[in-house]
Amino acid sequence: MSASQLLIPLHVQYIKSLGENKDDLVYHLTAHLRMNAVYWGLTALCAMGHKDALDRDEMIEYVMSCWDEEAGGFGAHPDHDPHLLPTLSAIQILTIHDSQDKLNIPKVTKFILSLQQPSGVFAGDQWGEIDTRFLYSAVNALSLIGQLHLLDVEKTVGYIKKCKNFDGGFGAVAGAESHAAQVWVCTAALAILDRLDVIDQDTLAWWLAERQLPNGGFNGRPQKLEDVCYSYWVLSSLSILRKLSWIDSEKLIPFVLSAQDTENGGIADRPGDLADVFHTVFGIVGLSLLGYPGLVDIDPVYCMPADLVASKGLRKDWEALPRRNS
């Protein structure tokens, strides 16, 4: 098949096939990312308008089998310790499937809040690794379950401010170099907290626009290689800043399409590499933000279906490119 179009049926098939072969070595190697992978697969399906391609009840059952009643959080896999990343994914999956009633909201709220450190950042789990990704996970999750009022917003925003660099971007921890993925988590967290005023918006949008390379793809930092997932971090951040017009979508779209596996489905980090569900979802969601025909609107703040986020009253003031007819 030709890679000049998004091969929606093939990608749906690819995502369905991922859960099927449990003897696959890759399945075991990626156990620590299983819950995230389910969320990535589901979000990709939602963006392609095939939310029901994976069995809803089975998915909810899987999510709940990762719930750690004692700790109040979700693990990535039934026998794994709870962590913020799978906890956010679990909450997103349950929200997409209109099943928040399965959640013990007071308990999971307590778990999330317990991971905030005195500096304002969040640890991923009891072992204490800190990262602005975990801060975003906490803010997003609390917002989705309507518990954001329990968060110390000043303290949280205070840490993001410490991660701000002279190029307008943000790093993983205070002092770290700006990186597109960390820019997205910080920008999206600030959007949820209604604190985009923290950002030097013209400088950041400039830095983001300079991530686009002559081949159309985006890198995550100056003088690095392009990668499909970086296009999502950059596009979502630019759409939150309402500056998507500062890059060339006509050059990005063919780059993402060229990273498709035209035989077995899925999208890779760059043309010729092996496809995976991570690059599949961020490739497709990126295309959705660019108005690619036939896709469903995705909210760049929550990385979930835009209609759903809006119906919960959580939509922020972002702007994607208009959906095209063909």
Partner: protein, 264 residues
């Protein structure tokens, strides 16, 4: 605390030995997988659990020795990949946490070496900005004087590869809010000279627009009406050129030009 529960039967010197051995063993693993989060985190955990010792007089002895070794490990890792952000983050963590870190000036010298061996190493420029802020704050370096020196360093880099955005982003940091009018004027002249040699240099034009706008918006009274008019015309001309040579980002140049025109 973790240490006593993990190694309940062991003497402090045994614990120190286990942890040092573990750090040595996992160094090989790190070289093979330099971007795996948990390996780096595991090293942090080991470091934080080095017990007091070897003696009451020297309770930081083991810690200092191990942390110093880690600084060496991280240097090896940055030799293999000078942009590895895990390694840079770990380096900052070590320097911030060790009990007797090398002086910040030696870290500044480290970034100079890294930058001089490759001007495109934005990670090193970034680190340099952080170290300089510390040195200025503590008074160990005179801000004005060290900025002066860094403009020289950047100038070399600009002439070596005018297309390298790392250098220009750092240059913009040195200029900062642009409160120093003679400096702005000097840099504008010198970038213009480079542009005359390299008439298609996008980053020369981008930077000229940025600094000319600073003069216009912040120092109109100082530079006078006539100069403002010619700076504005210069910006619009450059933006027109940028639109042509950098089409992916043309909307940005157009928006800046519209902003300039509407405030004229």
């Amino acid at each position: 605390m973790f240490t006593t529960s993990l190694f309940p039967q062991s003497s402090p010197s045994k614990v120190n030995e286990y942890l040092s051995d573990d750090l040595s063993l996992t160094f090989g693993l790190l070289r093979e997988h330099p971007k795996v989060y948990w390996i780096w985190n595991h090293r942090r955990w080991c470091l934080e659990n080095i017990p007091d010792g070897p003696s009451e007089e020297d309770i930081d002895g083991w810690r200092n020795a191990t942390w110093k070794k880690e600084l060496f490990v991280v240097e090896k890792m940055l030799e293999a990949d000078a942009r590895n952000f895990h390694a840079w983050n770990y380096r900052r963590y070590i320097l911030a946490t060790m009990t007797s870190p090398p002086p910040p000036k030696s870290e500044l010298a480290y970034t100079t070496r890294k930058i001089e061996s490759n001007f495109s190493n934005f990670s090193a420029w970034h680190q340099r900005s952080k170290v300089l802020l510390t040195l200025w704050e503590s008074g160990e370096l005179d801000r004005a004087k060290s900025i002066e020196e860094d403009f020289e360093l950047v100038r070399n880099a600009m002439y070596t590869d005018p297309d390298d955005q790392s250098v220009w982003i750092y240059h913009a940091w040195l200029i900062g809010e642009g409160n120093d009018v003679p400096r702005l004027q000097f840099e504008i002249t010198s970038i213009q000279e480079l542009l005359d040699e390299q008439p298609d240099s996008k980053w020369c034009m981008e930077s000229l627009v940025r600094y000319k706008r600073l003069l216009v918006t912040k120092h109109a009274a100082t530079v006078g009406n006539e100069a403002v008019r010619s700076l504005v015309d210069g910006c619009l001309e450059l933006l027109e050129k940028l639109r042509a040579i950098d089409p992916p980002r043309r909307r940005r140049y157009e928006e800046i030009a519209e902003g300039i025109k509407s405030s004229r």
